[in-house]
Symmetry: C2
Subunit: 364 residues, 2 copies
Amino acid sequence: MKLKIPSLDLSDGLRKVLNVVSSRSTIPVLSNVLLKAANGHLSLSTTDLEVSITTSIEAKIEEEGETTLPAKKFGQIVSTLPTGEVTLETDASMTSTISCNQARFKIMGLDSSEYPKEAAVEEDRKLTFSKVELGKIFRKISYAVSTDQTRYVLNGILLSIREGNFTAVATDGRRLALVEKILEDANSALDGDVILPIKVVNELMKLLDGEGDVVVKLSDSRALFDLGDTQIITKLVEGTYPNYRQVIPASFKNTSVVNRDILFEVLNRVSIVVTDGASSVKARLENTSIILSATSSDVGEASEPLEHSYEGEPSNIAFNPAYLKDPLRTLECDEITLKFNDEFKPVVILGDEGFLYVIMPMRN
Amino acid sequence: MKLKIPSLDLSDGLRKVLNVVSSRSTIPVLSNVLLKAANGHLSLSTTDLEVSITTSIEAKIEEEGETTLPAKKFGQIVSTLPTGEVTLETDASMTSTISCNQARFKIMGLDSSEYPKEAAVEEDRKLTFSKVELGKIFRKISYAVSTDQTRYVLNGILLSIREGNFTAVATDGRRLALVEKILEDANSALDGDVILPIKVVNELMKLLDGEGDVVVKLSDSRALFDLGDTQIITKLVEGTYPNYRQVIPASFKNTSVVNRDILFEVLNRVSIVVTDGASSVKARLENTSIILSATSSDVGEASEPLEHSYEGEPSNIAFNPAYLKDPLRTLECDEITLKFNDEFKPVVILGDEGFLYVIMPMRN
């Protein structure tokens, strides 16, 4: 294999694939990046056997071929190279010479035949989003994914399609976040549920920016995200996601509309006196104002009022402040709407179009 | 105690004193900041019984007095307050009410009588530096301080004054960094050595910026740094600093002058293949070029030449790359000078005025 490629392009491409590599794998070749030179392109691939990423970069291919290189060291080398043309040449013993201006490296690789092959994803169902849109959907809900390893179906994000409605859902059992969207190319053949591992969602959030679309192809056991120059394939989480619809109340007695930035700022201040995860911030909702307050036996107390527009009875509700901050931080709307029945029943937060958040109040 | 103070001024002042506070102290009042309101100023003090910092801020004092407040929580509260005037009022039970616009906190403090008193530093010897100059002196040598707790005199920075010459020295036994400066107000009464704990040096590096002077007052057991609005007092490290002069060779056979940025960049690249702290980067010094190279059995090899101007014999020297990077990173000069005799004897690096670095070559 021999090729020439601008150092910035190579650095950019490596950045996209390096996060997937596990440095602690017991299979040595999984610490490496697979390089394939053919048809005027260099492709770079990494996998942890759950998530695989491949990206393709234009290059002057002087001799087609394949090799693998230790991902972390190769990434470090490329990131320190000066701006210029990199020459990469691999000999029969799988040693690659990397040179750029006066710098010269000889790095030992492993034969590409050891690298696990990823079968193609059979295209059962296909969805198209703009990259920006899918990135925002994930950012608005991914914080709510459970980190409890014993509830593995909740360690992922549910993508559910029903009669032209697409819903992305995350929950850890204490709060639930979802984004709904009506699909343009509705089609009953698309109906079904898949659960994405949070790892692939985290990778996608880094890559889903800029112009263009992402095509999502779903099969029973895997999903493919095609970003044009980059493809990500992931295994799906096996199991059945809980029926999240049943936690959303059908009707509400009280509705508060409040400025998102101001609520976030006041909540941030008042929650400083909360010193452990079991303590709450209390909200007193009255005609024209919400008064947030908190008390802890070792620090003291805090309180601050803010304006809202309210239709309902004077009420008291207590929240875990961390659960209330998450959607306030990630939404983009100016105002959010809080809907609830009483201090014991689930509270719903509405904000950006299609977004819905459910939080259980805390007992005082 | 009752006072009014702009929130930004209070936040600024707290930032200066908060680093000293230990959150794990067994003496509860040491987790607190001491507040004193008198003479149109609020003073804020913290101490860990080794280093003490006091800063003074203009304030509208409505009732003079003292209290202490939990430093970390008070800092968090003040940093989230909106821009505006803060009212701080302490009652007889040492509970302080902090209010700003609509936000209101009641925080429990401890009586200021529990706070340890810092005696004044007897002014044996006095030196004056510009803040920027002393900050730069510390930054150019502090990385070389030993972290080996068993060699406690090397855990500090030596300030040595001899016949109008001021020298600041740091060493960990493998390399040594010093900055020398001729004092303007030379005076044999100033002669003597003190060892500053690295903790006070780290605090000073954060505070020594902007216009103005710092006055350093030294006694046998303590040092005071007076920055105008802020005073830092530290205990000195007891013990005798080793005779660092004896490791500096008196004469040299070979001298290389090389661009500092380029040497740093090439060294950064070549040292990527070095995978453990015991491995070296080799320098081959020839007539017009230095060739840096490194080899490791698990990664491969790297080499890159760079230009220098050389007076000496063709030579090979091996370095620990981390020790060579430290001065290259912190100096400001365009070119550095390397002086040495052979591959076994100490190598000296000269750069900014008054700076001298000694490094032992590694055996191959």
